[in-house]
Structures are given as C-alpha cells and as structure tokens.
Symmetry: C2
Subunit: 340 residues, 2 copies
C-alpha cells in the first residue's frame, strides 16, 4: 500500500536536543492511500511527502499556501531551494537539527485529481502519512495561509495527535470577499480556450492573486512611476513584476491544480469550538485576504487555548514569506514554550 522512495522514519522519541548530523538527514516518499474525500467519496490517492531532521526528533508538520509543496527547505539530500528556507533548516526557527520537519504535496497539486478537494481531506492525508511513518503524535503543526486552514482541520479532526498548532494568516472559514475574488480567478482560467489562452489565463489569475497577497502600501512604495504608454497601450509600473510572477507560476502549475486548490480554500470550514489543541494564531494587520477581525474572531472561539500574535506589515498576506525576522521570532517562541 505504500511506495516510498526512501525509508520510512522511526517513531518519535522524547529527545529534544540538537543532533549534529541531522541537517543532512532528509527523505521523500509517496504513499498510495485510499481516503474518503468529503465531497468526492472514496478515492485511491498518491500522497507525496518529504521529511528533514533527526529520526528521533519531535515531528513538526509544516504547510504553506496552495502553491507550496513538500520541499520546505533546502537540505544536503535535496539542495534545491524550498518554499520556506527563511524559516526551516539547520538553526532556523523550524530547526531541522532539533525537529523532524514533515510536509506533503497538496492533494490535487499535480493536476491529476479533478474533483472538489476539502481542507479536511488534506488534513486526513497528513494523518495518513503520520500513520504510514508510525508517528503517533506530532509535536506541532505550523501552517501558513491554506496550510493554516489545513492545520485547523487537523487540530479539529486529529487533535489527540497534535501538541500545538501555529496558524498563520488562515481562519476557520474563507472570507466572502476573498471567495468572490478567487471565484473570478477561476473564471479567468476557465476562459482560456486555446492552449496559449490557457497559459495566459492562468498567468492573469496568478497576477490577480498576487494583488490579494500584497497591499496597496507596498505597491505604492515599489511601483510609484506613472503609467506609461507602450505601443499605444497603457502599461503600469508593476507590469513586469506581476507578469514574471504569472510566468513562473504557469511554468510549475497545472490549470486543474490551480482550479481545484483555489476552490478548496473556499470549501474550507472548520468548527473552531471543537479544537482542543493549544494554538498560536498569527495575524497580519494589513492582510486583505484574511482580515484581522476574522482571526480575532477565531481566537475568540478558541478561547483560553489560543494566543493571538499580530503585527503590521506592508506585505499583507504574504508576510509569512517576506517578513522572516518577525515570523521567526513568533515561531521560536511558539515552539520553545511549554509543550502542550
């Protein structure tokens, strides 16, 4: 039932001390797993995962946005850049010499699963990987954006297996305005009818998403030049930046994967009241996608089990990627405090 391209790692032990050789210790695997998806029923799934860190270290599940993946950070075994090198790796806040970091590729991210995917399905996929690796209980789940939604689902559905949750810029449900925004992005992708049209449409959708991840304040500071006419058509100062974001995204993303993972954010709903796991909820004041008040409300529902950390950043929703020092301080504090 499992296809591992490296050995499964051992059950977690109670040793929290740094381990000199651990930074080179990483592996990948693919699990074939039957799972009952919330909207699409029983399916045979491929769940790709990667771990980094000592076999006997406590496990931290790490999850990012819908465009993130199992390769969190560069390691000796997998030296290419990860999506969160600023926070994960040897001597980073998510210290791979003290913890075993574990991540999956999102269900649907290869574009091969064209059904509605729920954040609860992703949480169950993570739990299946923990089973497969004989990890009874994870020390922490650190999730950002969509990963925070999945973390909340994991805490609600598999709370007994989790010591603490750090949920950055993700709430118990999507905001209606953000849902409308994503819905239009999916409409744009659906519009591209030819092969070249599909790529252009996906690029535009990504560029639009980038606007929601950032803030007017950042754009005002970075792209203050007047709009120019180029070949008789207006071109705004951010065009090069946004187009390169779109082009990079198109190169690595199947349209179906984008459609279904974007949709998955909007299908997300978790009863926060049912979560018993201690949580640190991290909110960015300027987040246009997950407004501050939604995370204040989430913290209110989580009650005494929750600490709300907030800070201001012109990068808005993307602060988890672009404010490494602020995020590292919060992570270090959240992970080094008393275990749950």
């Amino acid at each position: 039932m499992s296809l591992t391209d490296t050995q499964a790692f051992a059950a977690p032990a109670s040793c929290y001390a740094p381990c000199e050789t651990a930074a080179t210790d990483a592996g990948r695997g693919v699990l074939l797993q039957r799972l009952t998806l919330r909207h699409a029923g029983l399916r045979e799934l491929r769940i790709a995962y990667e771990w980094q860190g000592p076999a006997d270290a406590p496990v931290i599940i790490v999850a990012g946005g819908i465009s993130a993946h199992r390769h969190i950070a560069a390691s000796a075994a997998y030296p290419e850049a990860g999506w969160w090198d600023a926070q994960a790796g040897a001597d980073r806040a998510l210290d791979s010499t003290r913890f075993r970091l574990l991540a999956i590729d999102w269900l649907g991210s290869d574009g091969g699963l064209d059904v509605a995917i729920d954040s609860a399905d992703q949480a169950d996929a993570v739990a299946a990987v923990l089973d497969h690796l004989d990890v009874r209980r994870a020390f922490a789940f650190v999730g950002c954006s969509y990963g925070a939604m999945v973390g909340l689902q994991f805490a609600a559905r598999h709370g007994a297996r989790l010591g603490r949750l750090v949920a950055i810029s993700g709430a118990d449900r999507p905001h209606p305005y953000a849902s409308a925004w994503r819905s239009l992005q999916r409409g744009i992708v659906a519009l591209g009818c030819s092969e070249s049209g599909r790529r252009e449409a996906l690029s535009l959708a990504r560029q639009l998403a980038m606007l929601s991840y950032r803030t007017p304040e950042e754009f005002a500071a970075r792209f203050d030049a007047p709009v120019q006419l180029v070949d008789g058509v207006a071109r705004c100062a951010s065009a090069d930046y946004l187009e390169s974001c779109g082009t990079r995204y198109v190169a690595r993303t199947a349209p179906t994967a984008f459609l279904r993972l974007s949709e998955s954010i909007d299908l997300h709903a978790v009863a926060a009241e049912t979560i018993a796991v201690p949580c640190v909820v991290v909110a960015i004041d300027e987040d246009r996608l997950v407004p501050l008040h939604t995370l204040e409300a989430l913290a209110g529902k989580l009650g005494a089990r929750c600490r709300l950390e907030r800070f201001s950043s012109p990068f808005g929703h993307d602060a988890f990627l672009t404010e490494p020092a602020r995020i590292a301080a919060i992570l270090t504090d959240a992970l080094c405090g008393g275990a749950a």
Copy 2:
C-alpha cells in the same frame, strides 16, 4: 460644425431662484469637434451631451464613473432612469429647478475611438461643449470617481471658467495598486478571443471591478452563506450578484470602450498645485480604489482652496451611488455656500 438634436441653451444668468417649470426643460445634442488629444493628436470627435434645468440658471457640470454617461437623471423629456437619480433632478441636491445640469458621454464610450484617451481630453471636451452652448463660466463641476479626475483636469486647464469643484472619490493620479488591478481587467478582456469569449471576458473584468468598488465589510454582511458545490464546482454566495453585474455591463458596453476608458483612468495625472478653483474633496474611509490618504494628500496640495469631507461607508468607492443621504448633504452644502 455642430449637430444638435435640440436647441443650444442660453448663456447663464445670475438668477438662482427656483423656476417652477424648469423640471421639464431638458435637451440633448451632439457636437462635432476637432480636438487635439494628449496622446492621439488631432481628431474629429463626436461629443454627445445632455442638459436639464432652466436656461437662465447657473450651470453645474456633472460627471460620474467610466460607465456613466450624459443622462444623469430622469426628466420629463427623457423619463428613463439616469445614473444619479438619487442626487439630480427637481428638488434633489443637484436641483434641476435651480441649476442647469450638464453632462457628456465620455470620449471613447461608444467604442469607436480606439486610441489612448486622457482625462485632460475629457475636460477639453466638456470645455468645447461649454463653448458650443455659449456658457462662459460654470457655477460648479461635480465629479465622482473618473468624473472627479476629469473635474480636477477641468479646474487645472479651464479654471477661469469654473466657480467651484466637488471631487468625490477621485484623486490627482491613480493609485499604483488600483492601476495594477485595472491592468489585469484589461488583460482579461484581451484574452477573450471568440465572440462568446469576449463577452464572458468583459463580464469577468466588470465583476472584478465591482470587487474594487465595494468592500469586504459589505460582502461579509450580504454574502455570508458558505460556498456551495453546484455540479461539482464551488459557487460562492456572491456569484449571482456579480454575474448579473457583469451581464448588465456587457449588454451596454463595447469592449473597446471599456479598455480605453479603464486605461484613461491610469493615464490620468494632474498638477493639483496649479488648480485655483475652490474645491470640496470627498473621501470615503473604506475606498479601496482611491485610498483615503491619497485624497488627504490631494487636499494638502490644494491648500486653503480646499475643504476635505470624509465619511465611513461599507460601500467604499461606490458610496457616491449607494449613500444618497450622506452625499446629498455634502452636495447641498457645497453648492449653497458662498459662490467662489
């Protein structure tokens, strides 16, 4: 050189008293005019205009967003609904028994002028209509959104012909973030390659624009229902509303008109320091398209000649259409105060 479908109106007199029969007094005309456009050079243009109110009353030029037009409000002569019936007409804040209201169809709005159009060009078109109608000086220019930009241009270029300016939700230059947003809308329209694709693309672009005109607060209040799966695809609660906005817009708008007028917003730039006309600048705290601080900065540049009026509304940029009582109070005050 002129094609009027009604008689030109007389020069403005100094009588400000209500006139019993004036509400039925309205007319339309089309002026053929050579104008040197800022980016496109000398052109022969059709400028369609409409007036409403007594021939001897002071003239108020009224201008709305890029989807507005010359028909501001219903009248006996033209009883169909206008785009600003809440503010304009007999006994409204823009009282057509006391003032002669004048508006144009934007240059480019018929889709026949596929060149870059500047807000300065629109201001010159208004001035040409004033010449044509032998109006030496207008009592006021009341502009909302794009109309406020054109009003600022008019005040800068033709200040000697204007008594006062009321600029609602429009600044001296576009915000870089809003420019990026509009640029993507135009990209979406350009993506529609087939006839049906063009309509769908324009609809999506309009739906996206609607998001920028409103606020998350309004959407949270109106569309709080969870996202539903319909035929296996997520549908958010605002979908019906947004799609009907898009459909209505497609029915009345040529894609070229949208592209060129959207672009015109981004080409807008006026040296506020050069404006000598007394101004009331109206800002909505929640405006996501024209952030409050940009209008505070504009008021600062206008200095003693300017009064800033601001208020809070969940309708954001669209408050000039959706907060009739607040806007009426501001207009009444701005128009009834001492003449400039």
